[in-house]
């Protein structure tokens, strides 16, 4: 069975993929459909959805177009989710690989370090980091990456530990490959499928983290984001609940889609496990 056929056999995953493409489409089309800044006030404030032509989702407390915010917010969410996950992989994969490949005291030291980061409450650490570095896309990405790399390191370490004594690794060693070559060319390619699955779930968590941070007012002041929209509408929840409701549905759908896609990838990349599970 082809990779996509295995993926598509999981109907939830297919559904997730469709939602994800819609969100990606929103992000890409945002500057075309709404070329103006989503921060611009364009109409009377508090217009409910569908009340005025051209304002499908109404306006917020300041008269900004909710639909424009939603589409531009898709871009910000996906961007921050992807970049922070990449940075987390850049920290976690090398640390896990070194710890798992070399073992011994190096492994001990690196795992203590990882445990330390796992003990600290994630979200509280992210808040403190962003607050001290001042809110910006860079500080948010860094903070999310710093709190999400430990599971990557643990996963990669476990994979390396189970693979480092395999015959093909011994063979590579015999023909004189260096440790770096063995790590990069022999073992790492064989650990890719679990890393990919974990990464897709991490993007979902990163988007949740970003929205929570901007909800608390720690978003980049120049980037319109879903969390910010909910946070800004919080005080008027009694008068205009939909202002909080709409961006929340967007977050929910994106995170749900990424989780479903992650499960589908897991099924497609580890067909043996998938059969046991279902």
């Amino acid at each position: 069975m082809s990779f996509f056929a295995r993926f598509a056999r999981n109907r939830g995953a297919l559904f997730g993929l469709i939602i994800l493409w819609v969100i990606i489409g929103m992000a890409i089309l945002a500057p075309i459909v709404f070329p103006e800044s989503p921060w611009r006030m364009v109409q009377r404030p508090f217009l409910p959805p569908f009340a005025v032509d051209g304002m499908w989702l109404g306006t917020d407390t300041m008269g900004r177009n909710v639909a424009a915010g939603l589409m531009h917010g898709a871009w910000v969410s996906l961007l921050i989710g992807l970049i922070s996950t990449s940075v987390a992989l850049l920290i976690g994969v090398p640390l896990g690989a070194i710890a798992g490949y070399y073992g011994g005291w190096l492994d001990d030291a690196l795992m203590r370090f990882t445990e330390f980061f796992q003990t600290i409450p994630n979200f509280a650490l992210a808040i403190v980091l962003v607050a001290v570095m001042q809110p910006s896309v860079t500080s948010i990405v860094l903070a999310i990456a710093l709190v999400s790399w430990p599971p990557v390191a643990r996963l990669v370490r476990a994979e390396f530990m189970s693979l480092r004594h395999r015959e093909y690794v011994e063979a590579a060693r015999l023909i004189g490959q260096t440790n770096t070559q063995i790590i990069l060319r022999q073992i790492l390619p064989n650990t890719l499928s679990p890393i990919i699955v974990l990464a897709s779930l991490m993007v979902a968590t990163a988007i949740l983290l970003e929205s929570s941070l901007s909800f608390l007012g720690l978003g980049d002041p120049n980037a319109m984001s879903w969390g910010y929209m909910i946070g800004a509408a919080r005080t008027v929840i009694r008068q205009a609940w939909w202002l909080s409701f709409i961006p929340g549905v967007a977050i929910l759908l994106t995170v749900l889609a990424l989780n479903l896609v992650g499960e589908g990838l897991d099924d497609a990349l580890n067909p043996k496990l998938a059969r046991e599970r279902h």
């Binding site: 003990t119 650490l125 607050a131 929205s211 929570s212 909800f215 608390l216 007012g217 977050i251």
Partner: protein, 326 residues
């Protein structure tokens, strides 16, 4: 004896982690753009030149970094978390004042989510091949993907604004001056929405864990033996599968404690619950870095304490661990 040694060892490890967090906090202050003294004083009007100079002298900011670090660490070790100039109170007093509310909220949410999660997860495991099992798992995935603060807000809209069943803000009715049982009932009523919304996400997590863990336990040989003996399926589910599946859940639940504290920050902010999570939000809004780092330290300490407790429960529940590690 074994437990005493174990607790000592865990406390020693915890002390090291806490010390690292203190050092980490110190580095964070150094990392912040601008003058640390100005940051500590807060960025608003209170920070005049004389005051900043006084702070600089007090924290020895003109001295080498290691001297500053030593002063900072020894300050915290003598329980001096600094002064919150915004709230006009020592940071420690502010935190201790708010801590019970957070413990009540997170404790309730934890028990609620663990119990409901285990029940839902084992039901899903027993109905693994039936539609009802899939429905439970779909719901769990939905709650897992829902932003916590959004659920909280929507709960306010539905249950407080439209239905008017439950209070949406605070911990007790302001000005009611209730005593005894009435006060307990009042707090319980205010607790329902925050604890449920905070627990929902974790319930989803525990449901998924329980199902996986139970399906794994069902593959074991002793389950086959029990089945071969002719035991009733219900007895096998409860005594053989669930009991063994619970052990990994306890460990994983302990590891989730840190997330629970993080979730409390959001829930308390939405529901104006007077705990340390809301205190952290206040510190954020007011740029009160002393208070922010103090709350951060305490939330980490809470998580460590909670991890030790679950570790002990785990060891009491599973005597095999004792031999392996003591």
């Amino acid at each position: 004896m074994v437990y005493a040694r174990l607790i000592l060892l865990r406390l020693f490890k915890a002390a090291i982690v806490l010390l690292m967090i203190i050092i980490f906090n110190f580095l964070l202050i150094q990392l912040a753009p601008g003058d640390p003294a100005a940051i500590m004083a807060g960025e608003a009007g209170a920070a005049d030149e004389a005051f900043i100079a006084q702070l600089r002298e007090r924290f020895g900011l003109d001295q080498p970094l290691y001297v500053q670090l030593w002063k900072y660490v020894s300050g915290i070790l003598s329980l001096d978390f600094g002064y919150s100039y915004r709230q006009q109170m020592p940071v420690l007093d502010l935190i201790l004042d708010r801590l019970p509310a957070t413990l009540l909220l997170t404790g309730t949410a934890f028990v609620l989510s663990l119990v409901l999660g285990i029940v839902a997860g084992s039901m899903a495991a027993m109905r693994a091949r039936k539609p009802s099992g899939s429905v439970i798992m779909a719901l769990a995935l939905l709650f897992y993907a829902t932003p916590l603060f959004w659920v909280a807000l929507m709960a306010v809209v539905l249950f407080s604004v439209y239905l008017d069943w439950l209070p949406a803000y605070g911990m007790f009715t302001v000005g009611a001056n209730l005593q005894g049982l009435d006060l307990v009932l009042d707090i319980a009523l205010h607790l329902i929405l925050p604890a449920t919304t905070l627990g929902l996400f974790f319930m989803a997590v525990y449901t998924r864990m329980t199902r996986t863990s139970m399906l794994e336990a069902a593959q074991q040989d002793y389950v086959k033996t029990a089945r071969a003996k002719g035991l009733a399926p219900g007895v096998i589910q409860r005594r053989h599968i669930l009991r063994n599946a619970l052990l990994p859940i306890i460990t994983l639940a302990g590891l989730q404690a840190g997330q629970m504290v993080g979730g409390a920050i959001l829930t308390e902010t939405v529901f104006a619950w007077p705990g340390i999570g809301r205190l952290m939000h206040e510190a954020l809004v007011q740029r009160d870095y002393n208070l922010l780092l103090g709350v951060f330290f305490f939330s980490a300490a809470m998580v460590i304490l909670f991890n030790i407790i679950t570790d002990l429960i785990y060891r009491i529940a599973d005597p095999r661990i004792k031999e392996a590690s003591a």
